[in-house]
Amino acid sequence: MNNTFNLVWLIPTLPLLGFLINGLGRKSLSKSASGLIGSAVVLGSFIISIMTFIQVKQGHTGVIHFFDFLRVSGLKVAFSFQIDQLSSLFLLIITGVGFLIHVYSTAYMHDEEGKDFAKYFAYLNLFVFSMLLLVMGGNFLILFVGWEGVGLCSYLLIGYWYENNNYTDAAKKAFVMNRIGDLGFLLALFWLISKTGSMEYSQVLNAASLAKLTTFDITGITLLMFVGATGKSAQIPLFTWLPDAMAGPTPVSALIHAATMVTAGIYLIARSNILFSSALITQQVITIIGLATAFLAASIALKQNDIKKILAYSTVSQLGFMFLALGTGNYVAAVFHVLTHAFFKALMFLGSGSVIHAMGGEQDIRNMGGLHKHMKVTSITFLIGCLAISGIPGFSGFFSKDEILAGAFGYNTIIYGVALFTALMTAFYMFRLYIITFTGKFRGTHDQEHHLHESPAAMTIPLIILAILSIIGGYIGIPEVLGGHHELAHYLSPIIPTAHHSLSHQTELMLMGLSTALVLGAITFAWIRFRNFKAEQSNGGLSSFLENKWYVDECYEWIIVRPIKKASSLFQHILENRIIDGSVNGVGKLVNYGSRQLRWLQSGQVGAYVLLMVLGMLLLFVIQFFVS
């Protein structure tokens, strides 16, 4: 291990330190102190991440081995970090965006009382720690450690206001669904171990180990890994937890449920792309699932009225796009979209946060409107976010999304069509959100109105930074068509072989033009549709169908939850109490009964006794002489 990475251990350790300080000293620390500590540690690891990134850019990569986590009967799992292009990129995203959100939170959570405030930051730091573990881990087990860790933190943060039962329900749902995914992941690991006998990236993710695996193995392993990914990254069928997860504080949604944690699945697949590219069936599955998720979520987002819910569904939808990219073998595009999406979606969440903050906790966009004149910064940054996500040329979203679409086109035209349509829907509902919220005239209560104000600097500055990022963020990946030469792709090439570009430049340009034109159309349609918006009740079956999110939750309730509950109570009352325990107690009852019966032999009559004796004697004679 080269000594250029001798600070890397600090990257996860600092947040852990922050967690410990905030957690243990939560009673004593003042709000400002804990906020400061919370943000400072993340800043620290951000700085180190930048240093690391620079070194990696210069071509230093390596695996840093600390100690052996498990060493048992042939399996050796090191506690080691792998620093390479992919992980360093994610480090930047996590620590960078994380830092901004920490700063934002200091202001946003200001109404919380001291120890809850400290607790909040402790959790946040713990999350950053586990997320860093996830991306830095040198093998699948450390990745899994972080993987479950972030699940825990999201549980804790969603249920942060634990007195509200719905929130804790949401938290529980999130954790359990993640657990389901994790089981798939775990099984994938077992499969991998049983075949290759190791979990180190360096030993598993190479042609040599691929040779050990049959196609069936690879397909199975990758599919199981994908199951894990669906849990973490909210894909069909395990996506329903994410919208509910909006119960948590808004910055949490921004950090965990938009920028970082939910992209863990993409990270996993990108990390093990060598496996996935040799598993065609899996790729098809991923493509379908991704596309379906994107479409489904987008369609639901059309009719939502809770500002955070809309963002949540759009997140799910965007994640779907990323998986679409992965499925089409376009890993770079996926990672690229992760990056840009991290910027603009975080931006929008924080924006919505500042809106909610201003509205005093109000989240229903039908009670908003005309906020632009009250809070300019928020409005403008939010607009930038919308433009970015809908893929207007010049904004970051454009490049990444276009790359995905191009890949899809190269893969299959129908898929491309659906994807494009989904992109249009995205543009439509985002602008619906924007228009209803920021333009027109205010629809809320009166005291809400004069309470309206722009958020403090601690909140606006991150917004601005993120806005800038979501404009320029795309320029690290300009395709050749537009005269750039895809920096990102080159940077990642050691990890991810650059996708073969089948499309000719003309087609590509044509596609860009097409999508841009359609998107603009969608936006204008939204403008016309919602320019003077009234809170009207939903009309028609389809819209109510969408409002009720395709009744997915209800289906799960009926298909899975109810039967399990039924079975449990059935076991309890029939099998446990009646049959098993019943038979155990039955023996005792039998003995008692037999005792009561046998007592009558002891009749007290000498005659009877002697008779029984004689009969016994007869019996003995029979046994002795007449039973052979």
């Binding site: 399996l75 120890k115 860790g149 007195e163 529980k172 099984l187 446990e576």
Partner: protein, 497 residues
């Protein structure tokens, strides 16, 4: 030095001494302090014993053998091997925790309570160290008797009945095992003692390993021994004594039962059953594994509908034990080492669990989940401890249970993937009911039942902190524990070869 004392001797005699001292009328009122003091001394001894693990050098420290019944061929032979060490360590750690957690609590006729507690410790230690079948059986029963009295006398209103069920059930099982022991004994070779006496047969462990038994005999004996151990562990469907017993007994006793006594069954399986009957029909091993896995899912199902929080933990414990025994019977090295690791960690976690529940029950007098709520507001420290412990209980990474459960499931997977999948369902369910419990008991708004709950006392804080510390240390760096028991696993697999 080893000729003057040895660790096994200390492990047996210190608790007995403590127990007897407690019964001396002069010391009646100091039973609590005495037992706490002695249990701490024992803890010290067992930690010290970890530095003398090299049998080659310190044989006389780790193995004690006296001629007992020479015409029968039985020695009083107790010794420490890897697993023995980890389990005695567990016992030595758990007892101070138990006594410490209840330190502020007043017990009726405390001297006999703590005396019996220490005596039970002696029995348990003996079971873990016995290297001679007869000694093993003796300690096996001796561990049971004090616990019977403890559970019945200081238990809930239905304690007498439920504890008696527990006693008779396990007693029947162990008597069957006795028949099995005798049968094997009669098929062992002769044994010559130091004083020249020659016994026709031998009770020593090694002789039992070499007993000449046909496959059919082994199959039958497997069943007999399996019954005894399955009842003790307990494995589905022999588990029905357990929830009532745990629910009805006083919590310290429940801790002893759930943290240590259940390990007796597991220990019996890998020190006696598997090595002796390696040639038994492998269908039996398969059945045992499947039963255990069924037990995992079944117990998880039941745990989800329990309203009594103690029963919930009882069922979850059944599920955990089921996973261990499944890994044990599937006989994959990874799984077996996982069992050794997990036996220790499960003990720690479940003790923590019981302590927290005991505190809750003491403060509110309620065991029903549905009647509790909002404790997080009233007792934040308690809540944090519980959350950590219960996440350790569902094997979250970086807690002690994770490496073990990983190895267990991995071993099970190597045996039969679909069993691993079923067991994995158990993992999911465990998350469900544990989180349910946390949510209903701690989150939500304060109810009148919990309205004047205060946060925890200092002694409880200390005890719980110790547990949490162990949880994290063993979770981040489990290797020492694994190395401690590695030799035993290797030995097991060399024997059954």
């Amino acid at each position: 030095m080893g000729t003057y004392f040895s660790f096994p001797d200390l492990f047996i005699w210190l608790p007995i001494l403590a127990g007897l001292l407690c019964f001396i009328p002069a010391l009646r009122n100091h039973g609590k302090n005495l037992s706490l003091l002695f249990s701490l001394i024992i803890l010290g001894v067992s930690i010290a014993s970890l530095f003398f693990t090299n049998d080659g050098k310190y044989l006389s420290f780790n193995h004690v053998s006296y001629i007992w019944l020479k015409y029968l061929g039985a020695n009083y032979y107790i010794g420490l091997d890897g697993v023995g060490r980890s389990l005695t360590l567990l016992t030595a750690i758990v007892f101070p925790l138990i006594i410490g957690s209840g330190y502020k609590k007043e017990v009726s006729s405390s001297h006999s309570f703590y005396g019996l507690l220490m005596l039970s410790q002696a029995g348990l230690m003996g079971v873990f160290m016995a290297m001679d079948a007869l000694s093993f059986y003796f300690f096996w029963e001796l561990a049971l008797v004090p616990v019977y009295f403890l559970a019945s006398k200081w238990g809930g209103e239905k304690a007498i009945a439920s504890t008696f069920k527990f006693f008779v059930y396990t007693f029947a099982g162990s008597l069957l095992m006795l028949v099995g022991i005798i049968y094997v004994y009669l098929h062992t070779g002769g044994r010559t003692f130091e004083d020249g006496t020659i016994a026709p047969h031998s009770f020593s462990l090694s002789a039992f390993y070499q007993a000449s038994l046909s496959v059919v005999e082994q199959t039958w004996l497997f069943i007999v021994f399996f019954l005894a151990f399955a009842i003790k562990m307990p494995i589905f469907p022999f588990h029905t004594w357990q929830p009532d017993a745990y629910d009805q007994s006083a919590t310290p006793v429940t801790m002893v039962m759930s943290a240590i006594m259940v390990k007796m069954g597991l220990l019996g399986v890998f020190r006696w059953l598997i090595p002796m009957f390696g040639q038994a029909d492998h269908l039996l091993y398969h059945i045992a594994t499947v039963l255990s896995v069924i037990g995992i899912v079944y117990a998880s199902f039941l745990a989800m509908v329990q309203d009594n929080v103690k029963k919930l933990v009882a069922y979850s414990s059944i599920a955990h034990i089921g996973l261990m025994s499944a890994a044990l019977f599937s006989m994959k090295k990874m799984g077996v080492q996982g069992v050794f690791l997990q036996m220790f960690n499960h003990g720690i976690n479940i003790v923590g669990m019981w302590i927290v529940l005991d505190i809750i029950e003491r403060k509110t007098g309620i065991k029903k989940i549905s009647e509790l709520g909002g404790l997080a507001i009233k007792a934040p420290a308690l809540t944090i401890f519980l959350v950590i412990i219960s996440f350790a209980n569902i094997a979250l990474p970086l807690t002690n249970a994770f490496p073990g459960e990983f190895m267990l499931l991995n071993g099970l997977y190597q045996y039969k993937p679909w069993l691993a999948v079923l067991a994995g369902l158990g993992v999911i369910f465990s998350a469900v009911y544990t989180l349910n419990m946390i949510q209903k008991v701690f989150y939500g708004t304060v109810k009148e039942s919990t309205s004047e709950v205060s946060d925890i006392e200092i002694n409880e804080k200390i005890v719980l902190s110790v547990i949490v510390l162990i949880i994290f240390v063993a979770g981040v760096y489990p290797q020492p524990l694994i190395d401690l028991t590695k030799a035993s696993a290797d030995q097991l697999f060399t024997i059954i070869k």
